[in-house]
Amino acid sequence: MGDITQLLVDARSSKDGAREALFAKIYGELQKLARSKLAGAPPITVLDAPALVHEAYLRLLPQNGDLPPAQNRRMFYGYAAHIMRSVIVDALREKRAAKRGAGETKVTLQTRDLGSTARDPDVEALDDALHDLHKIDERCAQVVELRYFGGFTEEQIADALEVSVATIERDWQKARAFLFKALKE
């Protein structure tokens, strides 16, 4: 277990390779956790994203050291939400590739006969659109990661990004409209 606190500090000061190292560390942990949760579960399973992120955080922390300051914790969650997005998108890609390889038809999530089709959009397309959104408004993209992929509440996000809840609500509204448009195209 490496020194996650140091990695966070390094990542913050944009030290060469620190972000990548941090990403790899958290990614691995989250993926391991998600897989273990999915392993013995019945076909349909809800994963509690914030719980996973929190669990990863506890595991990655130096066990005997001081708790990192709140700022670091917030940073960690910001990264973790971003990484959660990658875990989900990658898992989905992997699975689809396997299915296609096995000659199965592609199953997309948005194809439903009844009910709201847009509740859970196609995650891959969403990932692409998020890249565009990131260029337009970085914080909006972060809000989507934290809220949609990280499962955080608006209050928690406001706390993590150090802005008001109203700002978060507006960012979410802008982001959602943009992504909806992008996915409809």
Partner: protein, 868 residues
């Protein structure tokens, strides 16, 4: 994405954000402006607005991506076997799991079933046991409009599933929109929904998640209700299976259709479904949701559900004005107790509307209007205001009962008429209504399509005498009906004109003491009262009451109704002593008619107690209130508002008696509970706060009192205007607080305002003005303005003085001020006499230890003995 595209999106984002902050009207005009000034930017901004609306409507990204990924990774597949079922194809996905079309493997039934696979959370044998048990209960629910739950089971891989009757259909709103169905047909479909929900309620099941997507309509036009899966057993407050399912499944509750108590995590009752049905009806008829815009977040929506008053649906669709507005808004009341008491009651009112009968939801608006009217025309103090609320609540209820009694009476009359083979009257009336009146609202026969109820009544009123010149018995019935209809929409002058005609005709045909003539006269009296002619109304109602007692006996419901009207009037004109007598009679009569703890009886007793409190009959008042409050406490959490109100009255009476510690205990308990129990705009808050302020003033906590009162007086001024009774009340206390805090000039100017408004002539004599004049005179005396002090005392209406007992604290205060004035003027003998009289009165009513008693005792003792 190119750099330029990114740049222009950035600009569009900031324009979009700015416009989001504006209200709808300003936003539209700003958008139009943008189209002119920035044609390059406008399309992108517009795209964002459209996408925002669609995303909200489609609940875009409101799901959980991990869940979505989970589906794809480990989803069930066609051909999988669960219990006795084989999956055929995925047909949907709800908040609780996937829905599959499936068939039985054993071939017992060929019909397809919908198999609902619950999320994998629900492991553990306790949860599974509960799930199966819950399923059995739900399985007993059988109704043609409810999709039948066939089975609840656990598959070999531990997957929980529900097998439900498979329904092919469209969500209610889409079904109606696609077929372009008119309002009446929509209402009829909605009545099927009500029937199904009422059936479930009768089996102690509340749905808790009613929304159009849970209400399917088949091709044949039959409603099928889905998802009684989260229904909770009524009366089972423990966190049982269904609750667990809801919470673990997450997002099962749809904020757009959730009731305030659901958002606030408060007890769920049948009223919760009444509320959600109100939202469904709103959406179904107007095409819009009552709250918010499509872009609102869940937390914004939840706040709106708790706080915002929904605009009447007629704001969206003009033709919904009137009954449908009233019905929907009643179903959408924040306070469950103010909604329809049951789904059946809601359905009944809709049926009445479809049959063009008056709807009961009107009783509510009557109470509202009556309250407003009385507030406009009355000066008084807390007690009077409290009486008002109690009385209005009572009258609204009795009017409603009268309406019911009357229709029953009419039904009985119709039966009698039939027996006598005397159908002519009934037939003539019904022909007139169907042919003349309904024809007048037929758009083909009128130039305008929008015909109001008012127009219809005017047309009818015009024609009655002409059409039925030779049939006075028919004309009389019609005038009476018209009179009541006008009364119902608060057009008092028109109501009176119609009832006067009805009375004259009825008396001529059936005699002065006939029930028909008396019934019409009763409404004549009510309309007169509403016009503000209280003495005129009282004369009419007293006469009606005397005659009714003669022909119907003491305890007939109609007699009770008139008695309540009389008592209300007597109190309104300020004759407290007679009002107490009238109310005693009413309470006695109610005791014979209903059980001991009946709500109506308790409401009457509470009013009587308030009047007795006004009269300084504290022992009896307190005894009655304690009985009322404890009976109401036993019923909690039902009827909390009433309990809080009566506790506030009790606190107030205890305050007046000088039992401050007890009062504080009662009031602070209620103050702490209130925010948990009632929405912040509930009227009870005002009463509790005023009782509290009064306690603060009496206890000498002037700073706290002033801190509460000064902003409160500003608020009541803004809300009710300078002549509003509640504003006067605030000013009176404020004046009293200033006076006791030693701010004499502020006291004088504040109290003068109250007196001036009162003297502006309201036409009757409220004893509360005695207290205002007493306080003003005392303040003037203290600042040495003796002439003005005498003047203030003398300007009190003699009638007001006569209506309270001689020992009343108001009279005692007055004797004290007089005594002190006399002493200052060098008249020691008269002065001492007055003070001694004051002391005796205070001692007898408030006891020897009340501060008022002590104060006048000290003042009397300090008069030099030599001067006697």
């Amino acid at each position: 994405m190119s750099g330029t595209a990114t740049g222009s999106w950035r600009e569009a984002f900031s324009a979009f954000e700015r416009l989001l902050g504006l209200d709808a009207g300003t936003r539209d005009s700003e958008l139009a402006e943008l189209a002119r000034s920035r044609p390059d930017l406008y399309p992108q901004v517009l795209t964002l607005f459209k996408a925002d609306a669609s995303a909200g409507a489609a609940e875009f990204m409101s799901g959980d991506p991990v869940l979505a990924a989970g589906h794809d990774l480990r989803s069930a597949r066609p051909g999988d076997v669960l219990g006795a079922y084989r999956l055929e194809r995925l047909v949907g996905n709800g908040g609780m799991g996937e829905v599959w079309l499936a068939k039985r493997t054993d071939g017992v039934f060929d019909a397809p079933v919908a198999l609902k696979l619950m999320h994998g959370h629900l492991a553990g044998s306790a949860v599974r046991g509960r799930f199966v048990r819950e399923g059995k209960i739900l399985g007993q629910l059988q109704h043609p409009h409810i999709a039948h739950l066939l089975d609840a089971g656990v598959a070999a891989n531990e997957q929980l599933y529900l097998a439900i009757e498979y329904v092919e259909g469209l969500p209610l709103d889409r079904w109606c929109d696609e077929r372009k169905v008119d309002t009446d047909a929509r209402l009829k479909l909605f009545l099927q929904v009500c029937e199904a929900v009422a059936h479930a309620h009768a089996h102690l099941l509340v749905h808790r998640d009613l929304k159009p997507s849970n209400i399917l309509v088949t091709d044949a036009g039959d409603v099928k209700l889905l998802d009684f899966g989260i229904a909770k057993l009524i009366g089972d407050s423990a966190e049982t299976g269904a609750t667990e399912l809801t919470r673990l499944g997450g997002r099962a509750l749809t904020p757009e259709f959730a009731a305030p108590e659901q958002v606030a995590d408060q007890p769920i009752t049948v009223a919760t479904d009444v509320y959600s049905l109100g939202v469904v009806l709103y959406v179904l008829l107007s095409g819009r949701r009552p709250y918010g815009q499509s872009g609102d977040t869940s937390s914004q929506l939840e706040r709106l559900v708790l706080e915002a008053e929904p605009p009447p649906p007629s704001r969206v669709r003009r033709d919904l004005a009137g009954d449908l507005d009233t019905i929907i808004l009643k179903a959408l009341k924040k306070n469950p107790a103010e909604r329809y008491p049951s789904v059946v009651a809601l359905a009944d009112d809709l049926r009445r509307h479809l049959n063009h009968e008056p709807v009961l939801a009107r009783a509510d608006s009557f109470a509202y209007r009556a309250g407003k009217f009385l507030r406009r025309h009355r000066v008084g103090a807390t007690a009077a205001a409290l009486v008002l609320v109690a009385v209005i609540a009572g009258v609204a209820a009795t009017l409603w009962q009268a309406e019911r009694a009357r229709t029953e009476a009419e039904r009985a009359l119709a039966a009698e008429a039939e027996a006598n083979k005397n159908l002519a009257t009934a037939k003539a009336v019904s022909d007139f209504v169907t042919q003349d009146l309904l024809a007048s609202v037929d758009p083909d026969k009128r130039s305008t399509a929008n015909i109001t109820l008012k127009d219809m009544l005017a047309t009818a009123a015009e024609q009655v005498d002409k059409r039925f010149a030779d049939r006075p018995e028919v004309a009389a019935e019609l005038h009476h009906s018209l009179g009541r209809s006008y009364f119902g929409i608060a057009m008092e002058a028109e109501s009176k004109a119609q009832e006067e005609k009805a009375v004259a005709l009825f008396e001529k045909i059936y005699g002065r003491d006939s029930q028909k003539a008396l019934s019409a006269r009763f409404f004549l009296g009510e309309a007169t009262r509403r016009q503000g002619d209280f003495s005129g109304a009282l004369a009419i109602q007293r006469d009606v009451l005397a005659r009714q007692i003669r022909i119907l006996g003491d305890d007939h419901p109609e007699v009770m109704l008139t008695r309540a009207a009389v008592a209300l009037l007597v109190h309104t004109i300020g004759d407290w002593r007679s009002a107490a007598v009238e109310y005693r009679l009413l309470v006695e009569a109610e005791k014979r008619a209903v059980p001991r703890n009946d709500e109506r009886l308790l409401a009457r007793e509470s009013t009587l107690a308030t009047i007795l409190g006004d009269l300084a009959e504290y022992d009896e008042s307190e005894r009655l209130l304690r009985h009322v409050v404890s009976a109401e406490a036993a019923r909690l959490p039902a009827g909390y508002a009433r309990y809080a109100l009566d506790s506030a009255i009790l606190g107030e009476v205890l305050t007046r008696r000088g039992r401050y510690d007890e009062a504080e205990k009662v009031l602070s308990g209620i103050r702490a509970d209130l925010p948990k129990q009632l929405p912040p705009d509930h009227y009870v808050y005002g009463f509790v706060e005023r009782a509290w302020v009064r306690l603060c003033v009496e206890r000498g906590r002037f700073q706290e009192a002033l801190l509460l009162l000064e902003p409160q007086a500003q608020r009541s001024l803004a809300k009710y205007g300078s002549k509003g009774i509640l504003h006067h009340l605030d000013l009176w206390y404020l004046g009293f607080a200033y006076q006791r805090a030693g701010r004499i000039d502020d006291a004088i100017s504040t109290l003068r305002k109250v007196v001036a408004d009162n003297d502006a002539g309201l036409g009757y004599d409220d004893p509360e003005v005695i207290a205002v004049h007493d306080e003003l005179a005392d303040a003037l005396r203290v600042s040495g303005r003796r002439d003005e002090a005498w003047e203030a005392l003398k300007s009190t209406s003699p009638k007001a003085l006569a209506s309270v007992p001689a020992e009343h604290p108001y009279i005692a205060s007055r004797r004290r001020v007089e005594g002190l004035l006399l002493l200052q003027e060098g008249k020691p003998r008269e002065g001492r006499e007055a003070l001694a009289e004051s002391l005796r009165s205070f001692e007898s009513r408030l006891g020897p230890d009340h501060w008022q008693t002590k104060r006048v005792r000290n003042e009397l003792a300090s008069v030099p003995a030599a001067s006697t």
